[in-house]
Amino acid sequence: MTERFILIPGRTSKQGCGVSEGKFDQVYQQEITTLQVAPADMKRMGLANGDRVRVTTESGRQIDVAVTAATGDELPPGLLFIAYGDLSSRLMDGDTHGSGMPTSKGLDVTMEKLS
């Protein structure tokens, strides 16, 4: 089943440490290729840590990514979070609305579980 979410890419300290270590090393790569989902949403969509999902934006940009449950109540239901990097950049459109800044947070997406 496919559900609508709002995706927020952002920084994490693990991602920050990973940058210093090396962007082709394990810490950074693991952090930017893991999508955090609220525990309630995981349960409702029958998702377990490590399962893979397809995330699609309104303009049709798409990524397949592994999920993990967000810790505690950090992420409210309906919201997705990922450390910004290659995968989150693939979802960003080019339009900056006359500001120089592409819309990189608060993206309307759909998420569906990949069998």
Partner: protein
């Protein structure tokens, strides 16, 4: 927690550099005591988790100083190729600059001028929108020592310093015992406004978990309350997800504060509304000065992004996204900013200094960058250096090279390097490119 690299068994003398500066994030902590053994940093006292990774992760790579099309080459050959690419281009861009010294930034802007290109920094995809808001309504701010000495109401809006600026609480905003806040944390009320209940939110006295993308509505509610404008409680709850009574309570605390501070992050600038979100926040801080002293400060991400703003501004008159194709500086965010010149397919060559657009830019921008010749300077290997026509492996500022950086509050700090590096510095490479470009342009 990154573990320090294993030191060689033979006991060789360790040297300690006191009050060295960490340039990983905008805190630019200058109280780090670094221990160096066999040209490796083995300890970084008082550095946070990000700082420790920064110092341990930047031992000199044994990669070649220069690669042309991925093949090792001499720096001189790389400089020659770089200068030709930049002088032959009709719409070259110079981008990045926020993780290098101001001395190197000044040469990079000089190159941008000489090749009649466009100079832009990572500000345009960080707090550029806040810079545009500043140009619209102004800004009332202060240095971080004022926050530490006077701030008694600290609001963190759309940012997560606990993860991105780990020592900010203890060094500047929440914990310090200051002249007018002698009891430190106990004399302060900490307020968080964000869509996620982050580690930062959990350290707050009050937390406003607003609906996603409703920062503008929340700020507008506070601006209305500041001016005692009547507002409809249902609509406030519907727009922001928070009861009007809670916003009113916050406004009462803001008016009662002696020295209010709002520190804000990417939640405002990267979300729908962008520069007008920042403008709403800057206007709110100004409005509050009718009642009490209130200041606002954008939480700048990189070690010298504020330096990049300053250097580009004093040399050209504009802070970022400066086009010099006509022989004089022109400014227009949304036209000359790098996300646009790439995504629109306009830039036809690039000089990328200490940045990684191939990892972080929008998809159309990355596709364009992939298709044009560009030069990349970076101490580490990144997706950007991997597909560069010319890639220079340079020494790391603050670890291998001295120089000046500007903290998030524009305070200049001088770097005392801990280790030497076999690689050339950004300044050396850029100066060589500038000399060659000037000759080719004659």
């Amino acid at each position: 927690m990154a573990t320090p690299p294993i030191t060689k068994p033979i006991e060789s003398p360790a040297t300690v550099i006191t009050d060295a500066t960490c340039t990983f994030c905008g805190c630019v902590c200058d109280d780090i005591d670094i221990t160096v053994k066999d040209n490796h940093i083995t300890d970084a006292k008082r550095a946070c988790v990000l700082g420790k990774s920064w110092f341990y992760g930047h031992a000199a790579d044994d990669r070649p100083d220069c690669l042309i099309e991925g093949q090792p080459a001499s720096v001189a050959e790389g400089v020659e190729r770089a200068a030709r690419i930049l002088t032959e281009a009709r719409y070259p861009i110079v981008y990045g600059l926020s993780d290098t010294t101001s001395e190197a930034q000044r040469v990079a802007v000089a190159i941008g001028d000489a090749i009649a290109g466009t100079v832009d920094t990572t500000t345009s995809v960080c707090h550029g929108p806040s810079g545009m808001a500043f140009q619209g309504v102004g800004e009332v701010t202060c240095t971080l020592g004022e926050v530490a000495n006077r701030g008694d109401l600290i609001i963190f809006w759309g940012g997560n310093p606990a993860e991105s600026h780990p020592r900010h609480f203890s060094k500047y905003s929440l914990m310090p015992k200051g002249m007018f806040v002698p009891n430190g944390r106990k004399d302060r009320t900490a307020v968080g406004v964000d869509v996620r209940k982050t580690k930062t939110a959990k350290a707050m006295d009050l937390f406003f978990q607003i609906k996603p993308r409703s920062d503008f509505e929340a700020l507008w509610t506070l601006r209305a309350l500041a001016k005692s404008v009547e507002v409809d409680p249902e609509q406030v709850k519907r727009d922001t997800g928070i009861e009007l009574s809670r916003w009113q309570d916050l406004m009462d605390r803001m008016k009662a504060a002696k020295f209010g501070v709002i520190l804000f992050g990417m939640g405002l600038t990267m979300t729908r509304g962008k520069h007008l979100n920042s403008e709403a926040l800057l206007s709110l801080a100004r409005d509050m000065n009718a009642f009490t002293r209130f200041v606002v400060k954008p939480m700048r991400g990189h070690g010298n992004v504020t330096g990049a703003d300053n250097v580009v501004t004093w040399q050209t008159g504009y802070p970022f996204g400066v086009n010099m194709s006509r022989g004089y500086p022109r400014f227009n965010p949304g036209e000359y900013t790098t996300s646009d010149t790439l995504a629109r397919g306009e830039a036809d060559a690039a000089l990328l200094v200490a940045c990684d657009p191939m990892a972080n830019f929008s998809q159309p921008a990355r596709e364009r960058l992939q298709s044009i010749p560009y030069i990349a300077l970076d101490p580490k290997e990144t997706p950007t250096t991997r597909s560069a026509a010319v890639a220079f492996t340079t020494a790391t500022y603050g670890i291998n090279t001295p120089g000046t950086v500007y903290r998030m509050d524009d305070v200049p700090i001088y770097l005392r390097p801990a280790l030497s590096s076999t690689h050339p510095t950004d300044l050396e490479v850029l100066s060589a490119i500038h000399r060659r470009v000037t000759e080719l342009k004659k």
